[in-house]
């Protein structure tokens, strides 16, 4: 498990329990500190519509990366026709470099289970699935222990808190490509099929798992629901930024360390980068200037240092060609070459695409080839324009968000690091000395 970073004590904690909380799967100690209080209040004293209203009023937006308003999703799922509905917790954690969702499931399994129960109560579902990576054996073990204990205690199961309402929750280990984390793909996996995205609409809230209304949420979204029901929507709305309140888990990686932190949304990037910079740096790692910050994981965008005041928030990041994505923030110092990094990320995204549609199968592949050409010093004179054209075509014609976002490493590199790109493109040199472009030398007398 990745280390948790120390954050300022003034930052509120919604998702992660206190560091000394003891065994997270121990139901007794969890209920003593308030687990399942919110569920009890909800099923005894609130109508499902009131729960939906509370979530809507909190202004919460989904933590899966896109930041879709959670309340709107719940309203759609609650009003969808059908007696059989599902709740799916997306704990897949697609980015191999990010452990946030897994860590949350390990440290606060009951919060996720309770959040699922509240969501199921609000939309009228009787079944829930938690999707996790098949190689996360410890996470699966803890989750199964927690579900077993909660069922035994009557918080979920055939008779939830003596109300006669039935709710079954199951863990489903899956493991596949990056885009298996996308919700329509994940639903395909839960149906026992090959993971490929579906056209939307219809959205999963109308026709999802087995063509029934399904609420798919990131585990962080679900884990915050009990807090909201417990302490009220207004308290939650007061945390973080106005446009998207609450806290989010980020996976930071910088020269001074790496780890997971729970941060209020809207915190400037500079502050977040500061958590893994300065202070802890030893002698062996001399001070190096920050060259770029990669925000959003493999399909993230590169931001230059002068954009470090951008708040870490869904819309603000999207406006500067990055995104929250997997919650990863990676600091690249002057040893790294942006073209080389862009090449690596574009290649990874192309490799991980599902192949269902042409922008996915061919568009990402061609983009990766263009960036490859630039990096190895064999570009065609039109390659920069070609890449920009291709990227905008892929964005315009993509079926799922994976292809759309897969263009970000290349387009953000072109937008902010054009000079470095031009060195590769026009002069066949790599200023960072990372790539080995074929330098064109004119033979002369020695």
């Amino acid at each position: 498990m990745t280390a948790l970073l120390k954050t300022p004590s003034s930052w509120p904690r919604v998702l992660l329990p206190a560091a000394d909380a003891g065994d997270p799967t121990d139901l007794d100690s969890a209920t003593r500190s308030g687990a399942f209080d919110a569920l009890r209040t909800a099923v005894r004293a609130m109508t499902p519509a009131q729960v939906v209203t509370a979530v809507t009023d909190s202004g919460m937006r989904g933590r899966g990366g896109a930041g879709f308003p959670t309340g709107a999703k719940w309203r759609a799922a609650a009003s969808a026709a059908g007696t059989r509905k599902y709740v799916v917790a997306n704990g897949y954690g697609a980015d191999p470099a990010v452990q946030t969702d897994r860590t949350l499931l390990e440290l606060a399994p009951y919060a996720v289970i309770e959040g699922m129960a509240l969501a199921a109560y609000a939309i009228g579902a009787h079944e829930g699935f938690i999707a996790v990576r098949a190689d996360a054996a410890e996470t699966i073990r803890r989750l199964e222990a927690a579900i077993g204990a909660a069922e035994e205690a009557g918080f979920i199961g055939p008779d939830v808190i003596e109300t006669g309402w039935e709710l079954r929750i199951e863990v489903r280990p899956v493991q596949g490509a990056y885009m298996l984390g996308e919700e329509t793909v994940l639903l395909k996996a839960l149906e026992g099929k090959r993971g490929q995205p579906e056209q939307r609409p219809p959205h999963p809230t109308e026709s999802g798992l087995f063509d029934r209304p399904t609420l798919v949420h990131n585990v962080q979204t679900l884990a915050a629901i009990p807090w909201i029901v417990d302490r009220g929507a207004a308290a939650y709305a007061a945390i973080g930024s106005k446009a998207s309140p609450g806290t989010i888990l980020v996976q930071l990686r910088g020269p001074g360390g790496a780890g997971i932190a729970e941060v209020p949304i809207g915190t400037p990037l500079r502050t977040l980068v500061g958590l893994v910079d300065g202070g802890r740096r030893g002698k062996e790692a001399p001070e190096r200037p920050v060259k770029a910050v990669l925000v959003g994981g493999p399909s993230g965008g590169f931001l230059p240092p002068d954009l470090l005041d951008t708040p870490y928030e869904f819309d603000a990041l999207r406006a500067v060609d990055a995104h929250v994505g997997s919650g990863s923030i990676v600091v690249a110092d002057d040893r790294a070459c942006i073209v080389d990094l862009a090449r690596l990320l574009t290649r990874f995204c192309a490799d991980q695409a599902c192949g269902k549609t042409i922008p996915c199968r061919i568009g990402t592949r061609r983009l990766s080839e263009i960036v490859d050409r630039i990096a190895v010093g064999t570009p065609k004179p039109t390659d920069a324009d070609l890449a920009a054209d291709l990227a905008s075509d892929v964005v315009g014609s993509a079926l799922c968000d994976h292809e759309r976002l897969a263009t970000l490493p290349a387009t953000s590199a072109m937008r902010y690091f054009r000079a470095e790109l031009d060195d590769h493109l026009l002069r066949s040199t790599c200023p960072a000395g990372v790539c080995h472009p074929i330098a064109v030398t004119v033979a002369g007398p020695t």
Partner: protein, 219 residues
């Protein structure tokens, strides 16, 4: 026979001389095109996947689409229940593989691939029984098979296809899609895309080119 110097040459020349007076068989292509029967579409052949398993699913799409209706085929559905057919009625009720092969005129085993190996299928049957042969539980079935055999044998996939009604081709697509399942043979640790990506990211951040690692080897 005793060795007569020059006899081979004489024999060869004799053949040449005989051919000289026979009617010609070569065409003056392209001036004179060959005469091909109007419905001729080349030789039909059914392909095998890399495990030596017939790819044809008896889906009839080729038979339906064939513009000259030269394909007919018959077989039973994947659960062995209904005899289905396309083409003249004598093809009713045949086992689909035999039928498809016979209809195609010849078997075309690909010498590169070995036929998949038989395994003891009792464990597969138990697993299937447990989930009531429900194709919706496919991932659970496949994961249980993986746990039982250490990989997902092609013979097991065939059995699962037969007894759940899921088409083998779809099932093959599903099983090979997921990284926690190893189809055909136990997985080797190399070729793990996530690990390769993480290694390359480390390298690239510290100033070593990602181009020298295996990620880029395919270019």
């Amino acid at each position: 026979m005793s060795f007569v110097p020059g006899l081979g040459l004489v024999r060869g020349m004799a053949l040449t001389l005989r051919r000289f007076f026979e009617p010609k068989v070569t065409n003056l292509y392209p001036e004179i095109p060959a005469r091909v029967p109007p419905k001729f579409r080349g030789r039909l052949q059914l392909l095998y996947d890399e495990y030596g398993t017939l790819k044809c699913e008896t889906c009839f799409q080729c038979a339906q689409a064939c513009p000259v209706e030269c394909i007919d085929m018959g077989g039973v559905d994947t659960k062995g229940r209904f005899a289905i057919h396309w083409g003249p009625p004598e093809t009713y009720g045949e086992r689909r593989e035999e039928s498809a092969l016979r209809r195609a005129g010849r078997t075309v085993p690909d010498p590169v691939y070995e036929h998949f190996h038989g395994i003891d299928l009792r464990a597969v049957d138990d697993i299937l029984h447990e989930v009531d042969h429900d194709p919706k539980e496919m991932l659970r079935i496949l994961a249980a098979i993986q746990a039982e055999y250490g990989y997902v044998p092609v013979a097991a996939l065939k059995r699962v296809s037969q007894s759940t009604g899921a088409w083998y081709a779809m099932l093959y697509g599903t099983a090979t899609y997921y990284d926690h399942l190893a189809v055909g043979a136990p997985r080797s640790t190399e070729g793990d895309a996530d690990a390769a990506y993480l290694g390359a990211l480390d390298g690239s951040l510290s100033g070593r080119s990602a181009s020298t690692d295996s990620q880029a080897a395919g270019t």
